[in-house]
């Protein structure tokens, strides 16, 4: 059985995630097939997956470098195909283990992002489809617009900092919403 930080017995068990004018949700369980190094992009393309430009995301594929990609919620057989493929095919990047994945949304979303991220993520400055690799909530993070149900940002960051990140978001959003539920 795999245990993610916010699961029962996980490292961040019991850490409250804010809800209200700012809402933080955990998606760390979702699959993240990451490759890095020479051949990564060519391998995905050989599987019929189209790869966007660097620091762009499209149809669940994140391009984080010239040879660094992550497929979100990809086909389950992708890893098996990769294992079987001939090098160069990139190297496995352990993205389901290195990173937590979370989602921020809510009425005061942009006010919160302005507090915890130094990059201008406002609608006019940061288009859907772009990726920012920067700092969010005092940790290095990757973020992009993903409107799951209403406008929101998806975030990837060091999985060991899960509790810390949730606390940082709670502190920063306390200005906007006092309601915190475990």
């Amino acid at each position: 059985m795999r245990i993610y930080p916010l699961d029962p017995q996980g490292a961040a068990e019991g850490t409250p995630l804010v809800t209200g004018d700012v809402t933080l949700r955990d998606f760390s369980h979702t699959s993240r097939f990451g490759l890095k190094g020479r051949g990564s992009v060519a391998f995905l393309q050989s599987q019929g997956i189209s790869v966007p430009g660097v620091n762009e995301t499209a149809t669940g594929v994140l391009r984080l470098g010239s040879e660094e990609v992550v497929v979100l919620d990809g086909p389950t057989e992708l890893r098996a195909s990769w294992e079987a493929a001939q090098a160069p095919k990139g190297y496995y990047a352990w993205r389901e283990e290195t990173w937590a994945m979370m989602h921020l949304s809510g009425e005061r979303l942009f006010d919160l992002m302005a507090k915890i991220c130094p990059v201008d993520l406002s609608v006019s400055a940061f288009a859907v489809g772009r990726i920012a690799q920067t700092r969010v909530g005092y940790v290095e993070a990757i973020t992009w617009r993903n409107d799951r149900d209403g406008i929101g940002f998806d975030l990837l960051f060091d999985i060991a900092a899960t509790a810390f990140f949730a606390d940082a978001v709670a502190t920063a959003s306390a200005e906007f919403n006092r309601e915190v539920t475990p």
Partner: protein
């Protein structure tokens, strides 16, 4: 706060970056005298005018080079290290 334009991530606050010092010639260790090796390690030119420096964009771990005017602190351009091979 100064802005540095990363060739991969675009313009960012300078505190997202780590400096790795000026681009130096790597002398052949075996063909270099002790005195010259010490000079290579410890002496910075600290010259005026345009210098080329290594930078790392920390969140993306991307290394690149920047040409900077050491007198005015103006960054003239930044570029990927692969361009070094063409220089």
């Amino acid at each position: 706060m100064k802005i540095l334009t990363c060739p991969m991530n675009g313009p960012r606050n300078i505190n997202e970056f780590q400096s790795f010092g000026p681009l130096k010639a790597n002398p052949d260790p075996d063909a270099t005298s002790d005195a010259d090796w010490a000079r290579h390690l410890f002496r910075a030119d600290n010259s005026r005018g345009t210098i080329v420096e290594w930078w790392r964009h920390v969140p993306s771990n991307y290394f690149f080079l920047a040409e900077r005017n050491a007198t005015t602190n103006e960054v003239i351009r930044t570029f990927d290290p692969s361009e070094l091979e063409q220089m």
